[in-house]
Symmetry: none
């Protein structure tokens, strides 16, 4: 068996697209100047990839788990834990996590505004006040953007088979949390006690006295929804026997990788936005390849452009990524490089779709049989029709790291 | 429903390859003169096939089981039984099988040479001396090449969750076999008793007295490793309702087919090597099609050439196979012929890879829409993207032998 190679997975978030009028029916990727991606496609093998399975409209969490070799049908357990990780809670296996809103509720328990007037101040003081231990459980509240946040509960025998407290509309009564199966009663009781205590704390909090003195709605209740039990995932090192690292601007991808025990490589200018430091990220990739067997690099901007319905911005994000790829183009003999997306975010749709995406695997001595381009249409001529669950195994075998199955 | 047709599966072992400099970036298959394969591809439908799943680096045992309609994720149980079958033991479901070495061990139990000086004589007398019944169990030792062999144990309640006796390095102490789970204690005890008895028998065996008189290391211990419980497989007749036969030079493929209850067709010149009697094998195929519904024919030479890194030899093996295919080219109206490999063995890698392989199904009245060639690149234009688990069902439906799924 030949020497094992290092592996690099570049995820252009929301990469896949449909034809756009502004490019005469072509996609942003087809329209982009992308000499490095085309060269990598010509050096290797390409095709189309379905996130998880054909027709599945993946979120970034499920598709990234899949791309990292964790089949989400086995390892994913609802978005609560991943949302919480996304805003910076160090979620652990067994934790119960919720999405949370700081809300305004009247004395009769009726929701006046689920968003407490879309709070413009940083709610970190409220989150801190609601983070404490009670009845042997640890409660962690973390603030997000505006009225948003997350609640994580840590302790024994928690169940996510419970209802929301959030009635999902203003004018309705805050709901008691109810168990949805036998064994969830204690969790429901615990959370109802905690939420009552949270209202008492919020009512008299200086943050709210200040808001009310300015005529603003007080953030006097925490509404929680979307309970999910954090899965106990085998670490990346345990599952693959490899040392892995992550370069990403957005918290959720960093959270997933941290949960898998991968190292997070910090790049000061990595923002997760169109103005991110593309070259900074790929230079960090290059510099860290000595220390790791595998590095995943996520570029969020194409997805954001897709959500904004802005194909020109998406093209620019792809072009700047292609240019930054130059940092590793002289290392291609020693690497297996995979470039793909986590899902399609067509600009004409403004949301994730279930379309297949182009995928390329570049590897020295792989089929250099013909020149190829890297885009949704050219990759149809490539041999592969795979799912995101196949990407990691396919990289492993190209990198001479796959065990033989059988004799 | 039309008349059922006979089915022929030609497996060019290790067929798939990557571009090679000696052929200006083409593969051995692309470079080969292969008019018959191209004609069969034009008569039918083709595409690409992943052994078991994309990126899986299959051995010949797992992939042949899959090609024969036995999903290895359900039916495969480790290589011990298949290795034993490979050298000619008639392994039965429930047997416990090991790979074994005739070794030299000193009086303190330290391994002097795991290979007993790479024995050049036939070790059949030793194997025979170690084959006997003990404690209600049947012990079968079968000699292989040089110091190699296999041990098969037959009897009730055997477990393969035990450790090896082989310390895997010279200079180390022979290990006691230890149980790895509750319920395996009796198997470990039984084997330790047997191996002690084996050493007593080998110590005074004339074979070893003769070796020592010539200054050679005695083969005075049997080291065993890789325990595997033979699966209880449904026979080919039970699973498919068809009478099947096998034409193959190498023992492992013959062993697998024998274990499935298929008939073995003996061809005197079938060696499993580049010098095999290609025409003899395909003439035997032709002659036996009257007697069987399905025949699998394995040509081992392309795999051997891939392991040797010899693309020219691989091309020759393919060309001689193509020529020998002439024996059945006038029968194509009455047959479904599938040609593919069991896995890729790229000459540039010298080992099995997880690359997809070309596959063709030739069948009268199938899509005769265009001329096609049979190779890794041309088959990308074909419609199929399948796994080896799909091959048998696909042949069945072309042969008018598939049950309708639903109404």
């Amino acid at each position: 068996m030949m020497e094992p190679k290092k592996m690099v997975l570049v995820v252009l978030d929301g990469l896949g697209d449909r034809g756009n009028k502004v490019f005469n029916g072509r996609t942003s990727l087809q329209a982009a100047y992308r000499p490095n991606m085309n060269r990598l496609a010509s050096m290797g093998i390409c095709g189309l990839m379905h996130p998880v399975a054909p027709g599945i409209r993946c979120g970034s969490d499920t598709s990234h788990l899949s791309l990292l070799g964790y089949d989400p049908t086995k390892f994913y357990s609802g978005r609560g834990p991943f949302e919480a990780m996304g805003i910076g809670v160090n979620v652990q296996g067994g934790d119960l996590a919720f999405r949370a809103n700081f809300s305004t509720v009247d004395d009769n328990g009726i929701v006046v505004d689920r968003r407490a007037g879309r709070i413009s101040e940083n709610t970190a003081p409220l989150a801190k006040a609601l983070s404490f231990d009670m009845d042997g459980y640890k409660f962690i509240v973390k603030e997000g953007v505006e009225h948003r946040g997350a609640l994580v509960v840590r302790g024994p025998n928690l169940s996510d088979r419970i209802t929301d407290s959030d009635p999902h509309d203003s004018g309705r009564r805050v709901r008691d949390i109810e168990p949805l199966e036998a064994g969830a009663e204690n969790t429901a009781y615990l959370l109802n006690r905690y939420l009552k205590r949270a209202r008492e704390i919020l009512r008299d909090h200086p943050f709210n006295r200040d808001r009310q003195s300015r005529g603003l709605l007080p953030a006097n209740a925490l509404l929680i929804r979307g309970p999910g039990k954090a899965p106990s995932l085998p670490s990346f090192q345990e599952l693959h026997g490899m040392k892995g690292a992550c370069i990403a601007g957005i918290p959720m991808i960093r959270g997933i990788c941290a949960m898998l025990g991968m190292d997070l490589i910090n790049v000061p200018g990595a923002t997760g936005r169109i103005d991110t430091d593309y070259k900074g990220k790929f230079n960090a990739l290059r510099d860290n390849l000595k220390r790791y067997d595998f590095i995943i690099l996520n570029v969020k901007a194409p997805d954001a452009a897709g959500h904004d319905g802005d194909p020109v911005s998406k093209k620019e994000a792809i072009e700047r990524t292609d240019e930054a790829l130059g940092a590793i183009m002289d290392m291609t003999d020693d690497l297996v490089i995979c470039i793909t997306g986590d899902h399609a975010t067509p600009c004409t749709l403004g949301d994730h779709s279930g379309d297949p995406l182009p995928v390329l695997f570049s590897c020295k001595n792989e089929n250099r049989l013909e020149r190829r381009q890297f885009d949704e249409v050219s990759c149809r001529k490539g041999p592969l029709r795979i799912t995101s669950n196949d990407v990691f195994p396919y990289m492993l075998q190209l990198a001479n790291r796959a065990d033989k199955y059988g004799a």
